[in-house]
Amino acid sequence: MRGEPAAAEASVTLQQPEVRKLRLKATEHLGVPKGEKFIHPTKLDLLRLVVAIYLLSAEKREAELLEENWRYSRQTARKGPGPTHLGRQARASSPRPGQLAAQAQWAGLAMPTVSLKRDLLFRALGRTYTDEEFDELCFEFGLELDEITSEKEIISKEQGNEKAQGASDVVLYKIDVPANRYDLLCLEGLVRGLQVFKERIKAPMYKRVMPNGEIQKLIITEETAKIRPYAVAAVLRNIKFTKDRYDSFIELQEKLHQNICRKRALVAIGTHDLDALSGPFTYTAKKPSDIKFKPLNKTKEYTACELMNIYKTDNHLKHYLHIIENKPLYPVIYDSNGVVLSMPPVINGNHSKITVNTRNIFIECTGTDFTKAKIVLDIIVTTFSEYCENQFTVEAAEVVFPNGKLHTFPELAYRKEMVRADLINKKVGIRETPENLAKLLTRMCLKSEVIGDGNQIEIEIPPTRADIIHACDIIEDAAIAYGYNNIQMTLPKTYTIANQFPLNKLTELLRHDMAAAGFTEALTFALCSQEDIADKLGLHISATKAVLISNPKTAEFQVARTTLLPGLLKTIAANRKMPLPLKLFEISDIVIQDSSRDVGARNYRHLCAVYYNKNPGFEIIHGLLDRIMQLLDVPPGEKKGGYVIRASEGPAFFPGRCAEIFARGQSIGKLGVLHPDVITKFELTMPCSCVEINIEPFL
């Protein structure tokens, strides 16, 4: 659902073979040499032209897709995912990806994708799989093998074949990981999870150990309180990296930054070569002009102010600047010699930069969310302590808080939970023995055993599983290990009588009779521009009582509509080539501010119909109103319960051609011939009459 769904899904259409073909055609038209990046900024206008030409041609639909893609690429070019973030790719060979990618998964989050070298993965798993077998394994475990690709294929798809020359063609598996399983975000964690699941290894016990010498200390000063108050730290001692391990270590930090760290807003990670530093360390906050250091991969020193300017154009770092940009003080960490470790959440110092050869790593996580900082630290150290001389041990570090309190990290807390076996069986709908259930849970890295009366299961929650916060999380893991598809499907015996929501029931009935009256149903957006509901109808926005949206990306989403009319007029404008007359209707909700409601606004169910032809056809719209009243069993006439129309006026209507509709003793709407100014503003050319009423009084 969330995260980066739009980007992910858009890339699906980007990869369509037909669009690629068209894209090729368009680049040919532009004389762009093959291999040059498709969207070259100076060629955007030309591209638009080509798209326009295609729009006129038989390839209209493809052209529209092309245009969408173009727009998408432009947006990503503007926003630019970080350099290491390759985004989610489409599956190959989907004939109708457009439809399959169609919007809106219910409830689910966009899953983070980890990109792993297949052969490295298989070596770590101790066996090979066919693609199908591995896909199956992922499915069972709740992962998704999203794409099989290679560095070369990715570059070739994004930048053309020529750029891909010489790129690696090592097979990559792109795997979607559930958004709460931070422990699976890199090769080491994923392999450990799968190996335990397949009972090939036992889940390791992670241990915090005290150093032989003096413990590393990080002192937090009170200046950080207003900007980024929390910090945690730990040491990975005698670690042995290889190129692949090092890459994975960097990549895991990036994944954590993008997900649980909320793009470094909540937590930022800094990892340092401890041998280049000397503790104790100080985490403080200073005026930007007073911070000066040599940042990562730069050769000279800059002040924080200068850095903020330099990084404005950095595709990766520019996304994190806003977190501290307007603060009077910037957070910064020094060692005892005044060497800057990092200026979180933006950049580390170059002095303590880690490399493949680094043996001792000092890890600090700073942030605004203490719980998440502790989780992030636990994930990093548990995952990579595998490569330490004493496997799965982590050296403790002390953090002194401004109030003088001393905390030792990483917490690496193991928690015990008790769940009754029959509860698990009852919630899942299975009948397993407590022993079997304990075994299932152990396969999910939740070491479990049956205790007490033989029905009680004691479960140990390791520090890697911060996602387990309730018994229901444990029950889910039991169900996953049991295999969702092995669960017997049954129907609940819940006996209920169905009822329709009366307003929707009335709407359904009216819709059918509106169509029977010769009007065609439109389905227009509930969001629109201020102009649509106000200026174009001759109103001031304040007169509409519309709710206003604070963060629209474009003018199309400034307000919720207060009338259905603009949507119908825009529908006609988009369908001017259709034979006349055009007779359209819509029955849907509009939104008006209403201080008596809890949220200060409410919907009204409106019915709107328009008649568009060479003549205004007021009598037709009037006749439709009479028919609607007949359907609603409202007789004409002044007497109680009847309806009448009375001459009225409104800025949207032609003078003398507007009437207000009164039914059941209240005004329910208006009908009339639209003002020529309104017609023109909606880019129409013919006379048009319309009726719009609130149908809620007829419930």
Binding site: R96, G98, F370, L491
Partner: protein, 508 residues
């Protein structure tokens, strides 16, 4: 049609003719307009295989009106020559003659006549030769006689320049006997009339056969929108399964009901400005059920009800922020809260289908608003097996029978499962919905009894509709850019009797 006699004559001639006859020649022979013969040919053709007619086009030279006159009376110059007596004629008198002006200059250049400007009563015209050959008249008479081919190309074009000749294209029919040729045909009636019924004359009359391969005339009618036709079917399915419709007529929702009530933490990415439309006015919800709000706050920040909680500083201001609801689950939360207030607890099955809003980047498959379908069952002791059973029944009604369930993570359900169905066209499993059991941290603060479980699932309305109606660009379906022709042409929505294009028939 007045072509009865002509048609009869045509048939008689055709019987006698060797091979066939030309419509134009027949018209000339009968002394009728060519169009009359063409009419007869067409009406005979309509009767079936009586005759065969092949359209031919021939080019022909014809005289113009002036050309006809010259062929009859002689060229202007010849007429001028003839009107000059041996003793001559005053030029002014000659010029008054009908052919005077044109004929005079031509006759002069032919050196047939001369002008004596020294005559006493003004210029006088005399013959130069005794007799003349009127070549123009002779040539035009040749054309008139149908022998235009005797003239050279140069001569013809000269006459055409003088607007005496014109080339016409004549469309004629070469008519021959058809497989059902007969000379005796009686005129067939086209339609049954009230008179025929009352007089009974229909008994003796032959009727013209209908052309059943022609298209009918579509009725003038209104049409329902395809997406809403699919909505109607989904409503129907839920109603058949005994689900009650929840009120969803509140697009504006507070963050509290949209997120906090669902145990979605306040730093959750969904609550980001990039994903959700927040309101500037009214910016905040003024009324919240404060008792319940406190329970929610405690659960988020400290845990409770068996939960560790998220352990963060929960802020009321954040919960008050108004937004356009991002899912209809906010309406489900309200419905479940109302259910929880009813004592004793009674089981419930709810559904809703309505609009939701996301501040997303738009593309061919994503709009800022779309429809969500949601089903909810609340009862004592519901299991994951029950959820799967209900899903199986629900999807069977959509015509989807092969289902598979994948573990997944949703913020407010645990366990959670994605629903996959096997797509015949793609030869692979595709996701058709998402589901789960609502977390106790969501249900217990509402006041629902501890042993009550709530299972729920959801999907979008647009996706099955796009597949059902073969639409690739969501804008053609939803919003003002809709293709009205598509709306006019769309068939009934029968989800369980899928007849769509073969490559798409299995998916939802």
């Amino acid at each position: 049609m007045a072509d009865g006699p002509v048609a009869e004559v045509l048939l008689q001639r055709l019987e006698a003719a060797d091979g066939g006859l030309d419509s134009a020649e027949l018209a000339a022979e009968l002394g009728v307009e060519h169009q009359t013969v063409v009419g007869a040919v067409k009406s005979l053709q309509a009767l079936g295989e009586i005759i065969e007619a092949e359209l031919r086009s021939t080019k022909r030279w014809e005289l113009t009106a002036e050309g006809e006159e010259i062929a009859r009376e002689g060229s202007h110059e010849a007429r001028v020559f003839r009107s000059v007596p041996p003793e001559g004629l005053p030029q002014s008198e000659l010029m008054r003659l009908p052919s005077g002006k044109v004929g005079f200059s031509k006759a002069m250049s032919n050196k047939w006549i001369r002008v004596d400007k020294s005559a006493a009563d003004g210029p006088r015209v005399f013959r130069v030769v005794d007799s003349v050959e009127d070549e123009v008249q002779r040539r035009l008479q040749l054309v008139q006689g149908g022998r235009a081919e005797k003239l050279g190309e140069k001569e013809r074009s000269e006459l055409r320049k003088r607007k005496l000749l014109t080339e016409v294209t004549l469309k004629t029919y070469w008519v021959s006997k058809g497989s059902a040729f007969s000379t005796s045909i009686s005129k067939q009636e086209t339609e049954l009339s009230p008179e025929m019924i009352s007089s009974g004359s229909w008994r003796d009359r032959p009727f013209k056969p209908y052309n059943f391969s022609a298209h009918g005339v579509l009725p003038d009618s209104g049409h329902l929108h395809p997406l809403l036709k699919v909505r109607t079917q989904f409503r129907q399915i839920f109603l058949e399964m005994g689900f009650t419709e929840m009120p969803t007529d509140n697009y504006i929702e507070s963050s509290f009901w949209n997120f906090d009530a669902l145990f979605q933490p306040q730093q959750h990415p969904a609550r980001d400005q990039h994903d959700t439309f927040f309101l500037r006015d009214p910016a905040q919800a003024q009324q919240l059920p404060m008792d319940y709000v406190h329970r929610v706050k405690r659960t988020h920040s400290q845990g409770g009800y068996g939960s560790q909680g998220y352990k963060y500083n929960w802020k009321l201001d954040e919960a008050r922020k108004n937004l356009l609801r991002t899912h209809t689950t906010s309406a489900s939360a309200r419905a479940l809260y109302r259910l929880a207030q009813k004592k004793p607890f009674t089981a419930a099955k709810y559904f809703s289908i309505d609009r939701v809003f996301r501040n997303e980047t738009l593309d061919a498959t994503h709009l800022a608003e779309f429809h969500q379908i949601e089903g909810v069952v609340a009862d004592h002791g519901l299991t994951l097996g029950h959820l799967m059973g209900v899903l199986r029944e629900f999807f069977t009604k959509l015509g989807i029978t092969q289902l598979r369930f994948k573990p997944t993570y949703n913020p407010y359900t645990e366990p959670s499962m994605e629903v996959f169905s096997y797509h015949q066209g793609l030869k692979k499993w595709v996701e058709v919905g998402n589901s789960g059991i609502f977390r106790p941290e969501m249900l217990l603060p509402m006041g629902l009894p501890e042993n009550v479980s709530v299972i729920a699932w959801g999907l979008s309305l647009e996706r099955p509709t796009m597949i059902k109606y073969g639409i690739n660009n969501i804008r053609e379906l939803v919003g003002h850019k809709v293709n009205l022709q598509m709306v006019y042409d769309s068939p009934l929505c029968r989800l369980d009797a899928e007849q769509g294009p073969p490559s798409t028939q299995e998916a939802a």
